[in-house]
Structure formats: C-alpha cells, structure tokens
Subunit: 437 residues, 3 copies
Amino acid sequence: MKVLLLGAGRSKRMKPITDKNFLNFLGKPLIEHQLELLKNAGLDEVVIVGGKHNLEKFVLCGKDLGMDVSVVEQKDLDTGMCGAVLAAKNKIGSEPVLIFSSNDVVEKSAFESVLEAFEKGDAEGYLLGKVVHEYFPGGYLEISDDGFIKNIIEKPEKGKEPSNLVNLVVHVHRDFSKLVSYLEQAKSDSDDLYEVALGNMIKDGVKMKAVKYDGFWQPIKFPWHVNKVFKFLFDNAKKTISKSAQISKNAVVKGDVIIGENVKILEGAVVNGPVYIGDDSVIATNALVRESNIGKNCVIGFSTEVARSFLGDNVWTHSNYIGDSVIGNNVSFGAGTATGNLRLDEGEISSITDDEKTPTGENKLGIITGDNIRVGINNSFMPGVKIGSDSFIGAGLVIPENIPEKSFVRGEVTLKISENNVDISKMSRDEMKKKIK
Amino acid sequence: MKVLLLGAGRSKRMKPITDKNFLNFLGKPLIEHQLELLKNAGLDEVVIVGGKHNLEKFVLCGKDLGMDVSVVEQKDLDTGMCGAVLAAKNKIGSEPVLIFSSNDVVEKSAFESVLEAFEKGDAEGYLLGKVVHEYFPGGYLEISDDGFIKNIIEKPEKGKEPSNLVNLVVHVHRDFSKLVSYLEQAKSDSDDLYEVALGNMIKDGVKMKAVKYDGFWQPIKFPWHVNKVFKFLFDNAKKTISKSAQISKNAVVKGDVIIGENVKILEGAVVNGPVYIGDDSVIATNALVRESNIGKNCVIGFSTEVARSFLGDNVWTHSNYIGDSVIGNNVSFGAGTATGNLRLDEGEISSITDDEKTPTGENKLGIITGDNIRVGINNSFMPGVKIGSDSFIGAGLVIPENIPEKSFVRGEVTLKISENNVDISKMSRDEMKKKIK
Amino acid sequence: MKVLLLGAGRSKRMKPITDKNFLNFLGKPLIEHQLELLKNAGLDEVVIVGGKHNLEKFVLCGKDLGMDVSVVEQKDLDTGMCGAVLAAKNKIGSEPVLIFSSNDVVEKSAFESVLEAFEKGDAEGYLLGKVVHEYFPGGYLEISDDGFIKNIIEKPEKGKEPSNLVNLVVHVHRDFSKLVSYLEQAKSDSDDLYEVALGNMIKDGVKMKAVKYDGFWQPIKFPWHVNKVFKFLFDNAKKTISKSAQISKNAVVKGDVIIGENVKILEGAVVNGPVYIGDDSVIATNALVRESNIGKNCVIGFSTEVARSFLGDNVWTHSNYIGDSVIGNNVSFGAGTATGNLRLDEGEISSITDDEKTPTGENKLGIITGDNIRVGINNSFMPGVKIGSDSFIGAGLVIPENIPEKSFVRGEVTLKISENNVDISKMSRDEMKKKIK
C-alpha cells in the first residue's frame, strides 16, 4: 500500500526552528525516522507532499532505507491538509492509500493496526482512534451501534465527548479517488476541508471504521514537543557506544546511551542516559549531560550541565546550565550563562509564538534557539524565551523576551568609579588558606 | 533538681529565622539538644518558660528523651528574665532550682560543675563564672577574700574587670522562693531586674559562690551564631552513615560526617566534614559540601559549593556558591546565584538587625534567609544580607540590602537591540576544537 | 665574552604589569631565565643596563647561577638603545661584546651561533638574522654578494624585503669602543640612533655579517606575549613534581607539569599540562588548570577553570573562568566571575595601551591585571580589558573597558520590590526530586 506522507507544513509554530522534518534526532532528520517507522511496518512506497521550501530535501529521503519515495509539491500551502492530499491526485489514482502527517510521531503499531483492520475488513476507510485518558481538544469519533463511525465531533465540550477516541491522521482509504472527489466538492470557511470531506463521506454512507490505538502519540507542533519526541525515538533506537569513542576512566557513563564516532568524554564528566551524543563531540571535564540529544561536533564545556535538552550540531557550551531547552546548530554560550527553566512560582510556562502568548503545558522549559548564535558570558535567559537565528547576545544580560533573528543584543553599562584608598597589598589570606583541607 | 529553662524569647535579633529554639540542628530542634545536655548532666526534670508563640511546641519536647518536662507561660514578654522566672513561681516553690537560658549553648560540664559545687557546699546560690581570655562586654563577678561573690559589675571599662569570670546564666538557687521574693521587690528602669535582685541578695548577705567554667559557650542571639552552634553540637554527636544512604564510588566522603536515611551522594560529589546531611537529601554530581548542616529532603545540585553554612529542610541549590550562610526551609536558588561572603576589603561584616547596623564580629558571612523563598538565576547577594520569608528574587540581580518578607524583587531590564550583519554561519571553531585534549 | 644586557626599559606597553624583567615565570623572574640561557651558552660575564626603577633589583641577579653580573645605570631613559649601550662605555672598553635586550626571548642556540661565527670569522660585527616566514615589520638585512651586510632596511614595503632575515638584537661587536664612537657621532630625529650608527659603520666599510637563526623568538612587549614566553620557558624546563605535593587519588594530572613544594591538588581537580604550579598553591575540588602558569601560594578554588593563563602569586579564584589572561600578584576573584576571552564575532581582539587601541593579533585574549586587586562575584570582563593595580571591582558588573589603578568600581542597583502574594509554602518539588538518579 502506498503512503501519502504530508510534510508541506511551514513549521511556523516551531520558529526559530526552521523545518521540523529536518531536525536531526539521534543524528538523523525526523523525516528519516518517520520513513523508517513506515518501512518497519511494511510500508515502503511513500509519496511525500512537500512545499517549495523543503521539496528538494525530501527528494533525497529514504535512499539509505531502500524505500520507493517520490515527492509532489503542494503549491498553495494555505490550502492545508485538503490541498496536500489533492496535490497527490495524479500520483495515486484509485489505489488504496495510507495518509499520515509528518506532524505526528506514533509507534509502528499504529500503522500495523490500521493495515491489519483494512486487510481483514471491508470498510471503505479506517481511521486511527487514539484512546485518550483525559480530555484533549481534538476531533472525537462517534461510533454507531453497528461499529462504524457515525460522526466526528470537533472539540466537544469537556464531559460531552462521544467516545474516548480522538481522530489521529493515520487514515486508510480503500479508493483514493473517492476521497479526492469528496475533497474537491468540500466547502468550508475555515481550514478543515479534509474533515468536512470525511464528514460528507460518512453522511453519504461510505463505511468508515475506527481502529483503536492506545500507544505513544506526540504531535510535534511546538518546540517544547521536541524533547518528548527525542525520548520516544531514543527508546526505540539501538543503544551503541562507538569503538572510536574515548571515555576517560574518571568519567561516568550510566543509563542508556548512544555515543557516536570519535566522541571524547573527559575526566569527571558524567553522562546519565537517556543520552545521545553525535560524532566528534566532546563532553569536557566535570560536565554533566542527562536526558539529552547532543548533535555532532559539539563541545559541552567544563562544568556545564545539559539536562533534558536538545542540542543541534556545532553547539559549544562552557560552564553553563542548559535545561529543558532546544538549541539549534552552530550556537555557543559563554561561561556562566544559564537558562532559567522554572518560573519562580513553578507554574505553567508560556512562550510567545507569532506575537501570541502560548501556554506550553510545561512547568519546566528553558529556551529555544535558531541557528548561528553567539551568546556571551553570564547571561540569564528566562523560561520559554526564543532566540532568533544569526544573532549575538552580549554579556551579563537578563533576557526576558523573544529576540528576533539577526539581532545584536547589548545592555547598558553604567560603572561608578571612585578612588580606592584601601591598601590591598596589606591584606593577607594566609589564615583562610590554612583552613583548606 | 529542677531546671528552669528560659525559652520565651521572641528571637527578634534572629530574624528572618523565626524561633531559634526550634531551629533544626542535625535534624533536631535546638531545644531538644539543650534538654539532652541537661539529661546527660543528670537533670531530667525541667520547667520550660515559653511565650504564646512557642508554648504549644514546648509541650511536645523531651518526650523521646523520657524527661519530665512541663511548661509555663510568660504572659508579658517585656518583663524579660525576671518575668520569665516569676512565671514559674507556682511550679517550683521553695525547692532548689537550676536556671538556664535556651539562648546559651554550653557543655554538659557547665551543669555538672555547678551541681557538684551545690552538693558539696552550703552557699545559697552558685553562679557559673565563664573564664574569659579577652575582654567581653558582660557582667563580671567580683570575688571577695572569703571566696564568695562580692558584686556583679556590668560591662566594666576594659582593663577594670574585677576578675576574668563573666556571669553566665547557669545559676543554682537553693531556695527558689527566696529568689522570687527578691525579684518581686527589685526595682529598675531597665531590663535588668534579675541582675538587680541578685545584687540585692548579695548585698543582704545571701551567700553566693562562683563556679569557674572554661568550656564552650556560645550565646545564640544573632544568625551568625548558628554555624558555631552547629559545630559544637556536631562535635558532640555520634557520627553515623545510614545504611540506606547511597554513596557513588566516584564520590568522596571525608572527615567526620553524619549522613541520614536514603541520602544520595552522586558522582564526583565531595562531602568534607564536619557535615550533617538530613534524610532523603541528594548531594548531586560534582557538588561540594563542607563544614555544613544540610537539612532533610534537600537537593544540593550540580556543581554547587556549600561551605560553612546551615541549610534547613527542602533547600534546593543548583550551581551555586553558598558560603557562611544560614538558609531557612523550602528555599531554592537558581543556577549561577552566589552569596558574597567576604567584603572586598575583607573587613568585619555588618548586618542590619531591626533597621540597625549590627557589627557581626565576622569577616566571613554570607546571607541569612527565612522560609519559602525562590531565588532566580545568576543573582549576587552581598555579605550579611537577610532575605525575608515568602519571597521571590528575580534573575541577574545584585542584592545589596535586606529584603522584607513577602517581597517580589525584580530588576530593570534595558536591552539595546540592533541589527546584526555578521554572517555567523561562516564562523567555524574547528581549530579550537582540535586543541582540546 | 662580555654580554651587555639591555634591561632599562620601563615596560610601558606592558602596563598594568610593572616590570617584565621581574615577572615570575615558573617561579623565577624573566631576567633570571635570560641569564641562565646566556650561561648555558657559555656566557657568564654580564653587564646589565638598568634604570632607576630596577637597578637595585638587577644587582641581586645571577647570584644563584654563579655568574659575574654587574650593573650600570642608564640615567636618561629617553635616549633609548643608544643611551643604554653608551651607559656601559666605561665598563667594557675595547673588548668584544655581545649585546642582547631583555625584551627578546630566544633559544640558547641564538647566542651560540653568533659566538661561533665570531670565533671562526674575522668580521667586525655579527648580527643575528631571524629567518621570517611571513612579513614582519622589522629591520631587514640586505646581504651583498660577498656575504657581508650591505644595508639594514627598516620596515620595507611588503614584497620589497631585501631578504628573509630580520635584525634581532643579538649582536656581537669585536671592538666595543668602535661602536661607542659611532654611537657618539650618530644623529637622528627619532629613537633609532643605534640603528643609524650601525648603518654608518656599514657605510664606512666596517665588515658586518649576518648569522641566520630560524629558532624561537618572542619579543615581550605587550601583555599578550606573556603566555607565549611561558610556553617556551616551560618547554625548556625540567619537569618535576615535588615530593611534598599532595595529589588526591581522585585528581588527574596529565601532560607535562611542574608542581612545587606543598602544592595540594584536591578531589576531582584536573591539571592538564603544560602547567606550572608554584609552591604552596592549592588546586581545589573539581577545578581545571590547563596550559597555565600558577604562581606560589595561590588557591584555584572549587570548579574554577584556568586555561592558557598566567597567574602571579597569591591569586585566589572561586568558581571562575580565567581564560587567556595575565593576572598579577595578590588578586582574588569572587564566585561566578568570568573573563570573556573571545569576541562574539571571534575576530581579532584589540586592547587599549596608553589610550590607544592596539590590535593584539589574537582572537583569544582574556584580561590583564596589575597587583593587589579584589574582584567581587558574578562579574563579566570583556576580552582584552586591563585592570589597574590596587583596585576593587564590585559584583554583577560588566567591565567593557580598562580600569585605572586605585579604582573602586561599583554598578547601579535598581531593585523593584512589590508584594508577593503567592503561597510559596504550598509549592512542593517532590515530583522533581523523584526523577533524580
């Protein structure tokens, strides 16, 4: 069966991260992880819908996996999921298709379940119904007595959910052309033509079944989803320590880790898994890395702590605390700079997305940065702040708000210099020194 | 012999620490340590004089020690020591009594000496005379040729001390009712009625003897006395490491330590005694704790140094320097925050007590905090500063002065953001990286 | 052969370092290293030309080496090298002499080569010609076909150098009195009378030969030359670890090191050579020292990194980053203070010398300090900044510019204190704590 993999989204809500599909988890772009999952579920023919911004990069995907990947362009990205599916109209015809969005990270079993139901049953369509254990603002599947889907109710009032199954875009359509014709006729004022078309199909008696799924599901829409996706992908990956890695006998590596080629872990460093460390990276003296993804060619400098964070490639730290953060590529932090990752009141952290305050659902969140950034010494970043790409941040600053890309950020320095008349040469610390033991 | 233990003081000068009697040293309130000392000296019948603020808590004291502890209330706390003693008038009658103040921390031998003198001798009263080796602004005992106390001279001019014995309130009176009647008749404009009554007794020929004492004595009046009391109590305590404590083989524990249940000491941490660590606390990776009392359920986070400090329960640190400080309960410090514990000129540190500048006699002193405080990242506290309870302290601040309780402290942020035109993506650190070894 | 060692320079460009001749490298003043090099080259009779400011100190030099060192004063320091040589007029007469400046650090072979050429040849003078591999703004030696020096061309245009040999002041004159008479007759508007005299000698047919030298040469004119000189002297020194040094078994010492008497290296500390550590210094818990000269009686405190830096005696650090810096004697740094040692754009760092911006040729440079300085906590020094002697630097400051000597530097503190109404006592971190492992 062909997979229609929707990947044309512009990752607007992920800013300053550019394209989530090409964010490197465990040294590999997310899209490759998605393709591998599909392949492992027996799906190795994939049509990826891309946009102008990432089409060319999609062309190169799946090669190493030996998959049959082709690419179509969604010209008008404002046409949403409907437009994305229609972009593949000429690629798939009336064959069966599995539609999946690169926005969603799920287990292999999600695909296997719908495929199995499709093969055994005779409904026209199968929609993955994610079992939710608490209220979630999605489209709930209403199931009729005969077991078919009766309706999809978008964001019902809490307590009025028709089931505990939320529509997750792992959809199989037995005849793609039928979906296409419904999509072409669907009408809506908002960005929900695909859902409208599905509703019309159901109304017209096209048999659709829900396939229950109680496994992992993490949409990757906002930057604070990145670390959750990392953990899932890490758990599913093979744990290896490269033979070329040099681990000091005074360093400690514990828990599950993946350590790349030529990695150096110096004296007194502690790597406390789950941790991925990319090729050629250095974990320097007395540093601590825990529950994090470290890209390649990074230097986690002396006495730095990186905790629950995602670092891209070529990131340099130096006596920093980087907690619950997502850091792009080619970013460096000067000594003493720290990310605040807790509000003082330990409440939910908000972050500004496209000028709008977004609740993150997290009470631990550091910063999110783009690429190509140099941060000076002794800065203090407030939780949830985003730093745009290609920026310089001075020294000794408190950064309470998002910084636009291509910024040079300085503070104001007012020093009051008066004459010192104390004879410092007479001050001795010999007594203090004697007490050191 | 009954002990009259004076504990009604309001600990005003200890602020923001609330009641010194219930400050937990080695996991146990000071008052319990005092009771234990008394018991070890053979004194297990104690009447504690409390105030409205701590009476109920005193009621529960001494239970575990199997002591006979009863409690009386001093209604008017402005009546000082005289009022405190008179509060026990109906509790003790004309029996002998040992009067002792919970303000003073002394060795067991202090009690034993006066008891022995009382048993062997026939004077009406025995006052502990602390041998002082340099001038101390207290009440000096003038001894007559026949060995009895002739006079008590309050704060004589330096060089005019009548002896090297200072009156320390470990006093035995053979007939408590006689003291009571003198107290009831004493007259003074200031807060020294007890001393006046003693003087009147001596004048009237009531035989009083001094009992020399050259042991440890530390009044606990100001917060900077806390660490000295800790050291004394620690030295006298049994050193044990709980079997349930988990000490990494990469951690170092040296010197005398007491380590509680379920304590974890992680890789690279160093605990350099004298150190007490309360139950369920964590000394995290590469942290250093020396000469300190760490309460229970604390987390001494990555790369923190705690030196010569007293921490209450539920204190969290993270890449901090906490030196020569007294920290309350439920206090956390963000990464990079440091306590200044030395003046630049290394001179004597003053601290503001009740709006008045108080010389501390110390040239090393950090901060003193109340309970329930959250401190952000990269703050700088100046020596001797006090932080009131229930407060938030922002980030990147210099705190040069006391902060009242229930404060939310922020700084002013002025960022100057201009456009950056440097192409950071072209900057490579490969040459730097090669040099790491 | 007598050596005329020119050492009267006032080290103006080295400020706030006072006299480079007496800067202690590996625990010994530079001048002693220079004398030792001369002695090892077979030159043990030295006349040092000093100024009023250092004459008395020169008198004591060379004693331990058993050398015959005498001293003459250059009265007028404005007379430059010519004046310096003439100051020795009565000391040397018409003997041969080797002239060498204490500004230059070279290998022993530099002396040996000119001496050998002098002994074997019959020219009147021999000048060391340093082989340069890229353009250097010095005096180039033009060699005629018969092998003698034809001319010395000062700072020729790049590409128009007459040879790849630059005049380095390791000069032998067979008859000192001849040089003296030329010097006495030389005329110039600028500070180049010695060079003019040499030129006149050549013009008059006095035979001068160049002696090629392709070894180490480092002038020590600016503070950023100090670390290069350290490395050279270190490489040439015997590597020893004193028996009285105490190195914790949890510490790591690697690479080439020289460790003095009674040095203590505590748990978790890493010393990564080339490193010199002077007598009685302490490298404290979890500190890192690499490629640095640490003077005597220093304390490199908890979690400090000192990298590629030169520290004088009695320097105290504490959770600092000191990188690519030159630190005087009796200097201390409060916790969290860091030296910025890279510009954000990683470009060449400038430093202000005598009110003038000086390009340093370095893209890594920290700070340069004088003696007797106390720096508070959490300060941020910008690259290339100089701190004058006898100064105090407050806390939480950014120091972007040179600080004059005898300064007391403070910032402005503006705290905004409002009432906090959050009930912090209800905030629990128990869930966070459970996750620590």
